[in-house]
């Protein structure tokens, strides 16, 4: 079990957890109004996208240059 597999495993699980909590937080934030609320919503949305990116990177869908 070389280190890369371990790292990918942890990244996979963590991305699912963080992605889920971030989107849950985003759901709660949707009802708020105001400049800081909109800014938070935008940033949380991009954070969720970041979690997707890490998810696909960890399962080697994104960023595998082996072929």
């Amino acid at each position: 079990m070389d280190i890369a597999i371990v790292e990918r495993g942890i990244a996979l699980i963590a991305s699912i957890i963080v992605g889920a909590t971030a989107s849950w937080q985003l759901k709660n934030e949707l009802s708020t109004r105001g400049l800081d609320a909109t800014a938070t919503k935008v940033l949380l949305g991009l954070l969720v996208i970041g979690c997707f990116v890490v998810f696909f990177a960890s399962i080697n869908v994104l960023g595998n240059f082996a072929s």
């Binding site: 963590a14 800014a39 890490v54």
Partner: protein, 217 residues
Amino acid sequence: MAVESTFGQPSPLLERAAVEARYHNVDALYEETRDMRLFGFILFLLADCVLFSSFIFAYLFLRASAPTWPPVVNGTQIGRLDVAFGALNSIVLFGSGVTMHFALESWKNLKTRAFNVWIVTTTLLGIAFLLGQAHEYTSAPAGLTWSGNAFGATYFTLTGLHGFHVFAGVCYLIVLTIQANRGVYTGSKYFGLTAGTLYWHFVDVIWVLLFVLFYLW
């Protein structure tokens, strides 16, 4: 006298007078200064976006004008960055974004113990990311050096600039933790925490872009 509204919303001072008339316990003057500070902080974040986008333009420009990517140095092509460790490091940072959000929520609900737990976790995760980044720099693929070639130049400058922002964010979080525990922020006046959270989310989002540009493309 008909005092016309500005772009559909009443002029700020009128707004404050109305707020003060209706809710006597709201400190209208603080609300207005908070609005100004928040607007100023968002503008600062946008200006910071321009800073990162200038360097990203440099990266894309040099990558487009390079015959092969990653470029060839002394006859051998530079190896790809380690995606596995990069993914792990990124999720650490994104996790700290989530915990920071919990910290602010718990402060809004006046749960200071939970706030302390969450904000300390965020700071530790931030420091973990910086250590991960340091490891990434030391074990960079052969030939990838700051003054070696365009790939090294753009990679180390951009991720270094982002690392500096994370480091500044960590110091900001430490100051926020101390200030919050010293009682500087109250239940309704906590602009420092809002700004800290926005800044931390901003730093996360910049890393999403950098991770994709350098590691996955």
